[in-house]
Amino acid sequence: MDTKIELQGVKKRFGQKVVLDGVDLKIGKGESVVIIGGSGSGKSVTIKSVLGIVRPDAGKIYVDGKETTHLHGRAREDVLKKFGMLFQGAALFDSLPVWENVAFGLIQGRGMGRRKAKDIAIAKLAKVGLGSEVANLSPSELSGGMQKRVGLARAIAADPEILFFDEPTTGLDPIMADVINDLIVSTVKDLGVTAVSITHDMVSARKISDRIAMLYKGKIIWQGPTKDIDASGNEYVDQFIHGRADGPIKMEVRG
């Protein structure tokens, strides 16, 4: 399998706080990888480094075999055309109606006409279970779960080669979560998209991923096929997937 994305020894710290301490990860073309890890372990920072929103302090990042670590300006924009991203907090543009949020990449990034882009936006909204009646609403009029789905529609709108989902099912009811899981699976399987998702939801992780990687203390401490997750032989992974308070991972809780 060809490698689509590769991180080599990526390091990042904010002030004194080391967040990524040498992340190595390869993601194959057409593969769906889930990154798991505790809250604040740097999962979001990891995918933001690939997008260039966060500039790594050290290490290299490759997309389609080309190094993209230090790209900016036009060159960065061109690489980003391959990506669709769902932000953890949806990050919808609150000055634009829902449909323009979804169509944004088509209109601004690709210069598509507004009418055609609106039709595509409404079709993408339908894929995430939202009717055309929300198209003209403002994002602030939607519930949290609906905003998340609009964010998802925006991520898939331009049919990118690579999709990043930061907690796609958080805040959704179990049924809608499963609809989104199916959507992610079908996007990857049918369209051959490469997907990297972050999730705390192990049901979703098992369903959408070919492979799981666990981030702990700034490094990938375990990775393997999803079917092996229960027999990882790694006590950190075991503690995490079973959600136990006791174990090698010590949460920083002060009493």
Partner: protein
């Protein structure tokens, strides 16, 4: 403890800030000339920055013109020179008070609004989202605001000049017993195109400062609601100070030859 160390540290922080602002200014200016230009956003910003500032600017200009007429009358009275009111009012308004008052009012209104909007977009990751949608945030957010402010401020100040002179006229004719026709004739005979143009040049510079500081503070806001609040305050304070400093500089360039 060591006072020199703390002063030194503050000075370094100040230099770093100046450096960041310079870089931001530079990248904003180079983005203006590079396509695309977002016309739809430009029109929207012209409405927001220019049109909706008209009431505030008009009212302040009116009262300033009125107060100015009164002061010159009272001051002139001491030397028996109270007839000079129309000439000094038009000079003061077009050269200094029109642009400065409009600049400060728009700074309070617009720089704050820009900083709050862009700051919120920063802390809710909307600016990162723009980037991932292959849209340059500086081009999309900063350029329309900069152009709109530089275009609309001179228009606002032109209107403020007229309203300010009118405020002086009303006070002079209604309570200081000036003859209306004579007042207007003296005003028109005295004012030169250089007086008006210098004020409009100042206005364009102030517009640039207002939009730039609003955007800069917004882009650099951190944290949540509190960070956005700080950014808003910074935008108003820094743009007001820069306007007054630039005004002095421009006065000394434009009126000493």
């Amino acid at each position: 403890m060591n006072i020199f160390a703390s002063v030194g540290r503050l000075f370094l922080l100040f230099l770093a800030e100046v450096g960041r602002l310079t870089r931001f200014t530079f990248s904003s200016i180079t983005s203006i000339v590079r396509p695309p230009i977002y016309w739809r956003l430009l029109v929207q910003q012209i409405m927001r920055i220019g049109w909706f500032s008209l009431p505030v600017v008009g009212l302040t200009a009116f009262f300033t013109g009125g107060a100015l007429a009164l002061q010159i009358f009272i001051g002139g009275n001491r030397y028996g020179a109270e007839a000079i009111v129309p000439q000094i009012v038009v000079l003061g308004i077009t050269r200094e008070l029109g642009p400065v008052i409009a600049g400060l009012m728009v700074a309070g209104r617009v720089a704050a609004a820009i900083a709050a909007e862009i700051g919120t977009m920063r802390v809710t990751e909307q600016i990162d989202a723009l980037t991932t949608l292959s849209t340059n945030p500086v081009k999309y957010l900063v350029v329309p605001r900069l152009i709109a402010a530089v275009i609309t401020m001179p228009i606002l100040v032109g209107i403020a000049d007229a309203i300010g002179v009118f405020g002086g006229y009303i006070v002079a004719t209604k309570s200081l017993n000036f003859n209306g026709a004579v007042y207007l004739k003296n005003t028109a005979d005295f004012v030169t195109s250089h007086d008006v143009m210098s004020g409009l040049v100042k206005a364009a510079v102030f517009g640039f400062i207002i939009a730039l500081m609003g955007c800069y503070s917004g882009f650099n806001s951190k944290g949540g609601a509190q960070g956005v609040g700080t950014a808003t305050t910074n935008a108003v304070v820094s743009s007001s100070i820069l306007i007054l400093a630039a005004n002095y500089l421009l006065t000394s360039i434009l009126f000493t030859s």
